[in-house]
Symmetry: D2
Subunit: 347 residues, 4 copies
Amino acid sequence: MREKAIRVGLIGAGTIGRVHAMNIAGIREVELVAVADPVQLAANKIAAEVGIPNVFDDYQSLLKDERITCVLICSPPITHAMIVEEAANKGKHIFCEKPLALSLDEADKALASVEKAGVKLQVGYNRRFDPSFRRARELLQHGVIGNLHLVRITSRDPDIPNVEYLRTCGGLFFDTTSHDFDMMRYLTADEAEEIFAVGGELIDPKLRELGDIDTAVVLLRLRSGAFGIVENSRRAVYGYDQRVELFGSGGMIEVMNHLCDQTVLSNKDGRHLARNKWFFQERYRESFVNEIFSFFACIKEDKEPEVTGFDGRMAIAMAVAAKRSLIEHRPVSLTEVLGKVSKRRPE
Amino acid sequence: MREKAIRVGLIGAGTIGRVHAMNIAGIREVELVAVADPVQLAANKIAAEVGIPNVFDDYQSLLKDERITCVLICSPPITHAMIVEEAANKGKHIFCEKPLALSLDEADKALASVEKAGVKLQVGYNRRFDPSFRRARELLQHGVIGNLHLVRITSRDPDIPNVEYLRTCGGLFFDTTSHDFDMMRYLTADEAEEIFAVGGELIDPKLRELGDIDTAVVLLRLRSGAFGIVENSRRAVYGYDQRVELFGSGGMIEVMNHLCDQTVLSNKDGRHLARNKWFFQERYRESFVNEIFSFFACIKEDKEPEVTGFDGRMAIAMAVAAKRSLIEHRPVSLTEVLGKVSKRRPE
Amino acid sequence: MREKAIRVGLIGAGTIGRVHAMNIAGIREVELVAVADPVQLAANKIAAEVGIPNVFDDYQSLLKDERITCVLICSPPITHAMIVEEAANKGKHIFCEKPLALSLDEADKALASVEKAGVKLQVGYNRRFDPSFRRARELLQHGVIGNLHLVRITSRDPDIPNVEYLRTCGGLFFDTTSHDFDMMRYLTADEAEEIFAVGGELIDPKLRELGDIDTAVVLLRLRSGAFGIVENSRRAVYGYDQRVELFGSGGMIEVMNHLCDQTVLSNKDGRHLARNKWFFQERYRESFVNEIFSFFACIKEDKEPEVTGFDGRMAIAMAVAAKRSLIEHRPVSLTEVLGKVSKRRPE
Amino acid sequence: MREKAIRVGLIGAGTIGRVHAMNIAGIREVELVAVADPVQLAANKIAAEVGIPNVFDDYQSLLKDERITCVLICSPPITHAMIVEEAANKGKHIFCEKPLALSLDEADKALASVEKAGVKLQVGYNRRFDPSFRRARELLQHGVIGNLHLVRITSRDPDIPNVEYLRTCGGLFFDTTSHDFDMMRYLTADEAEEIFAVGGELIDPKLRELGDIDTAVVLLRLRSGAFGIVENSRRAVYGYDQRVELFGSGGMIEVMNHLCDQTVLSNKDGRHLARNKWFFQERYRESFVNEIFSFFACIKEDKEPEVTGFDGRMAIAMAVAAKRSLIEHRPVSLTEVLGKVSKRRPE
């Protein structure tokens, strides 16, 4: 059986790389055979923890290993598009963390290589694989709440990342909101037509020096006429705040937060529940497992991944539109960003 | 229209008397014309507050007033049966606070007078008129959860009453549990067959001197074979705890507590809701209004009250059984208390 | 005591007029002596129901009655400013339903009359008197969640009003959102600096003929730098949806919806709670009582009302800005609407 | 590193055996080297699924393998005590599923062998390792709710097991309630003094033929004077119902159920949440992982297991008392069951 295993290389030994490495350890048909990270300490640590035989300090060496048929790109966002391109050129199947790229040009170049190579590409929008969001989507698509009027996504991290992370993540819209843009598309099976974004440095004024913001509200109009709201913050002291609300002509679907435990204390001051699960590792644990299972299933069964390159590209387009709207303080249409003859969702 | 008003006398100017007086003030066809209480200060205060023209220091004087066609008995429980009897003998319709009496003999004597006089008698089990319990009963009676297996009633006061109240209330089973025994019968439309009660002085050991307890658990078997649990405490520091759970072959119906407000605070320590409404005046406000409306509607429309003398008597029988069980530390059957040829629920 | 009663005239015998009339009936020092409505049937009905001795078919006749020292203006919004002006000129204290006017000019004229006459004016933003919102405000103002970053107000009616109502209400922003604009100011003790509004006819396309919308999202920037979102819909099939969320550097305060009852059914399909209270009469009952008590207390104690003419004017300014933003599809600053030397909140 | 691995044999290839096998697969220092089950199909299936090299059809053969230093007893309850004894005699560390035995005599014999052999024994009360219960215990033990007055444990399975299971499980009190008896001891750090149990065949009358019941209520008095209630049912159609309530002089601690997901649908009929997680595999997943980790940590670090043989014995004593109470319909003291000079909790 081991003969038939998919041999995987992990590029990037940071937090998210470790999440995937641990989850892959539980899949019998998949073998994690190499990890690459310029920070050797990080690469070695994961290798020891999960039991990965080969450690590289550059991803190119990993890509040269012909026994590796599949890579997981978990490096900083600024490197994603470039590595996708190179990996595709080497004929490897690719799981790439979000965002796929930091510009549409980069994305298009990477996607062209993927298409040419005929390899699988799945983008790491793990939240699509969360059971609560999945059920919300199903209910909506089955017409349970009639016509959609409003989608609201609240998406707040527990705390602001360090400066190194902030420098390489592409900014709030590419890093955090990217998930929410994809969730908007996933839930609604619709596309944004126009975006108006506001934001600021309400948590840490030093973000201005990085050209970034820590707080944002993005207002969208979808093709169907429904409206969308995304609310982001880099710091919710009560833990990861990940809620969705779908409001329609026939009712409302909500996805509520996940609490640390189900213990409730009642005393003279009131009724006290646990706080939210702290961050994505706890809140989305199940979705990460499902996501990576799904990816390998697509390779084995030669199916299209559940999150495609097109999906990755659209989230970038939305981030580009949001950023432009923020800077120019006006509503920005997606057509303006994508060009008049925009690439349509493939049939 | 005032000519046709029902002229009412209030006997007892305590907390519950005041609740009814205020509610009656809002009913146009009913006129509260007299109040009687040996504590003149209390009687005068209510009279001023609600606008009652006549104040007596003994209930007999009030009963002599022939223009009064209806009385509300809100005096201490040890006096209930006696006053019901006298009021019935004077031909007055009667709303009597729970418990109807502190023994079955007293109750039977009072009920005989009521029957002979042909007046209306409603016992003050206000919780039957609470919308949440009412809906719970309807759901159960409509078979929504199939056959009933277990009823659980949690019934905890926010704080222990003063000694004067404790001396005249008849003890925990007649005072507090009485409501829960009635609720058990109301919800299930069934009767208890056997009762096993345990209890103690966990809050205040001085209750032992009064021959009373402050904490109890009563286990019941109903005729249907379903089980019942009543949990009582004289002090829940988080406020009035009034919950019901009906568990059956097809599901469960719960009635949850009512919180003071709907504000929720989330911070690093968790998620904080308001505490329960403090006591019966807040929690059961709506039920008291409905109860008293219902009573006067029965008089006007010559209908049987929603809580009858029979209901009042059964709650007493259950309290008697519970007390005997507590003392003798064994299960006590209702037949033992009611006598072999027990009065059956009237057809 | 009746000699000292405040003698009140009610102008407008519609839904909200009836709410106030019922609540006033419970206040001993206040006497509702007249009602005026061109629809005589409505006026007569309320008069009979609550017991109001004088019925007029025009408000001018009511205003002429010199024994009336106070009026409640509950007529259609298009008449508010005009009646406020006339009532003030007659020296009457005024409770005026929201909105105070449908334009700033009208409002300013009315407010000038009020100021000149030295009478009390309270505007009907009843939600300020809701215990949950009040506690939310207190928590925020006491710094419990640190610096405010985002306020979100969800405000959805259970169903769309009839055409007659829609014709005279001033449109969504003046009718519904008006409450939310005021709530935004009340909760934050801050003012809006800029407004961006989107909306549409997602429920009923016929609204376009009336120049109105049924669905809106309004995005605000407050002077403090915090952002605000108001979400409106004319139809939430699950009942009145009235939520608030305050997010800040130290946590989050939410006000949740009020359900019809506290009964919960668990079966094989899940856990089923009651739906929301249906509309404002049920959800805000307590706030209407508090509001009208507060108004009469201000008259008796010669204090400034809790909702002033200034507050009424600011909500209009915000509605004007929202409407302009909707039409011109751009962010509109409040300065643009109020004029450069805007009237500041009085010290 | 593999040299130092703990070599484990699994006895019993049923549902719970499979749960442990899967969890052990995730622990690097532990190697599952053999499985034994008279049902070869079951043993082979697990062996294939998890990758276990040796398969036996009798547990004795497995015990003879000297390289195995540790066994997991997951066979039917009627075999537990016997296998514990034999395994101890072979010097193996033992993880034994609950109940440890079906009588005190059996238990005592097995425990004597364990003590003599000096091996570790942990009994499978996994719920102690659930984060919510653990926090509840900590809060209680830290005095957060003052003196304990009442413990309530609701423990309902989603559906009744098949006849084969029912025949070998020892009956409701040894099978299901056993967990709740242990939880009562775990949460309170106290012992039961007296037990009164009622029950019946409300789900399936055929249980009578097996001498078993499907529904029970057990009332306990603890040494501290606090009361305890355990509610059991073999069928809750809304899924696994696992709640705890600790009520004390200073407040209440509750552990609520876990729902399948956090999606909520609001429509004209109300507000609909997901149903409970279906059964122990879903609800207690985390606790099973923690439990087995803890067991192996005790072996490695030569510490006393978190659930001892004494704990296993006390749960049996409580089940014996409950059964006697049910049959004789009277309160039964633990002293009566344990003998006058009862074995005390070891210091």
